[in-house]
Symmetry: C2
Subunit: 353 residues, 2 copies
């Protein structure tokens, strides 16, 4: 009550002054403050100057003296090492910013990755200071709702390309796909397959695009039958690997777009009594703890999940203070972590690419 | 402001009526409501009857119509599969109860397992409805503080024996130690060692006690040199295992008090080129995901972490409503999960116990 009340009272007039100063409408000033891109450059300049001149800072939605700010983190699941890394990064950065995080796995209780019904209403009721979405997929109306209620939010590794102006943080997925594939090429592999995630998911498509670019630059022809989608599911990855092994010309190496799927790939290879890396080189993606525990330890592309999450929190704090990130999409770099699952192909097996 | 205000206003008079009805002081009535045990049985009976007669329900600290209740979960770390399982259980049960959870890893930022300074003040400022502590160790003054501010709390797997009246949920650790050891005895092992956690930690001591009881009932003499403490640390477990292997009469099997420490045990055995389970049988404790990923997959004692966490949340909700759990210590059962890390001892090696 106090929070939502003070919010609506506090944010209004200040922004109105800015709008008057800049000679624009309040909604337009709001768009600039909220980092929306559908504003003419000249208008944006005038508003930004007015913001600076007046030293505009959006007042927090909470009485910091009495209650620490609450930021919402909405995740897919809480019992994966992926979510653990994200939580770890968000919580540490929130603590540094004097904020506390409300965690909900609302996304898991719905079809797809959409927040459950009524959840957004709880946000406004509680006067949430801001929201971080992890692996989420919002509807147009949900985006509009957040915009309309002036609740700042940042997407961590969004499932789909978010609308213009929405701030998101992810990993350099395309580059990661290139790195993984170039590593296998450097070892002498030419028959390189990829076990991908969902065809419609941004992160997976970027990794596959990187794989294809690396093959192309190496002058190796693309084989559509070497690209299998397993929806980031361990057991589907298991089946797709068996499909690859049943090809007339099976691959000698496979780039798997997540460590969890790599577990399924390992199982399939073990069933066919094929050894990693002698019979098949495997490169994963993520560098979750499980990559170190399986044997041989998995060579994988590390994406800095905790750092991505901490970056998202810090961007959110700036937005909560009325600041606008320069870029709406921040990508943190990925790097190859070499372990025991990759080696040179068996004599001759790499030659017939 | 609203929350803390309404809390003090709401809780007072109602409890006063109960006290008058029962003919006791308000503090005494409060003790009964808060499940304290330092109340005479007769007094407790009178107060309980008065509570029932008046249908006393402690009013929530929040306006449920406007804001969903917030419950605090204080954990040690957020990036372990252990904390993932706990979070998963708490969040699901909280959602069913219409509550949301504020997660903080405050325990990690302090010596030992104690909440950091100022953290408790944030709780009262925010008007937290209740607190769950995971693997925490509170000081006497912190217990008193929570009691005094009438903030209900439940301990999940407390590090030390909590004071009388404090509600906690844990696993049947002693029984788990018995099960693990009896499994190794049944396979024919007699030289069975244990890699324990902290000497001062309740859960570890209970597991070791179970190990000793099982050996005693089997009429096998206790060898102090077979009991090594590794403080639930993977690398320390690695060193302690090497110590065990250097004994004049090394064990043929080892019961490791956590799956994470079992990873260190596996590494030590690999260094000495000893194979699991042929040269050494290994039983873990927890059944975290990593137990399935290492090879051979780890035979371990499963403790139902998510269920423990959900049970703790449900107990907390009852206490938030002024109800009193029948028992202050709830233990959920453990069970052996047989995988590939245990087998019969090599010929003769079990004989000389």
């Amino acid at each position: 009550m106090v929070r939502t009340g003070s919010a609506s009272v506090a944010a209004g007039p200040t922004l109105a002054v800015v709008a008057r100063e800049a000679g624009v409408s309040v909604p337009t000033a709001s768009k600039v403050v909220n980092g929306r891109e559908d504003v003419a450059p000249e208008t944006r300049r005038r508003v930004t100057e007015a913001l600076d001149r007046l030293g505009y800072v959006r007042r927090p939605r909470f009485d910091a003296a009495k209650t620490p700010g609450l930021v919402d983190l909405v995740v897919h699941s809480l019992d994966t090492s992926w979510s653990g890394a994200v939580l770890h990064g968000v919580e540490a950065a929130a603590h540094d910013a004097g904020l506390e995080i409300v965690v909900s796995a609302g996304l898991t209780r719905t079809r797809g990755a959409r927040p459950e019904r009524g959840w957004l209403d709880k946000l406004i009721a509680r006067g949430s200071s801001g929201v971080l979405f992890n692996l989420a997929e919002l509807t147009a109306s949900q985006y509009a709702w957040l915009e309309q209620h002036r609740i700042p939010f940042v997407m961590i590794d969004p499932v789909l390309e978010p609308p213009p102006g929405v701030v998101s943080v992810g990993a350099a997925n395309w580059h990661g796909g290139v790195t993984a594939t170039e590593h296998l090429l450097a070892l002498g592999h030419e028959r390189i397959a990829v076990v991908a995630g969902h065809q419609r998911k941004m992160c997976s498509n970027a990794r596959v695009a990187g794989y294809r670019s690396a093959l192309a630059s190496a002058g190796i022809r693309h084989r559509p039958e070497y690209v299998r989608h397993a929806g980031f599911d361990e057991s589907v990855a298991h089946r797709r690997t068996l499909d690859l092994l049943d090809l007339p010309e099976p691959p000698t190496a496979v780039f798997v777009c997540s460590d969890r799927m790599a577990l399924g790939v390992y199982q399939a290879l073990a069933e066919r009594e094929l050894s990693v890396p002698d019979d098949m080189s495997v490169v994963g993606f993520d560098d979750l703890p499980e990559a170190r525990w399986i044997s041989p330890a998995l060579t994988t592309v590390r994406q800095p999940l905790s750092e991505m999450a901490a970056t998202a929190l810090r961007l959110l704090v700036r937005m909560m203070n009325g600041d606008r990130p320069e870029s709406t999409r921040t990508e943190l770099s990925t790097r190859l972590v070499e372990r025991g699952s990759t080696a040179i192909p068996r004599q001759g097996s790499g030659s017939s690419g």
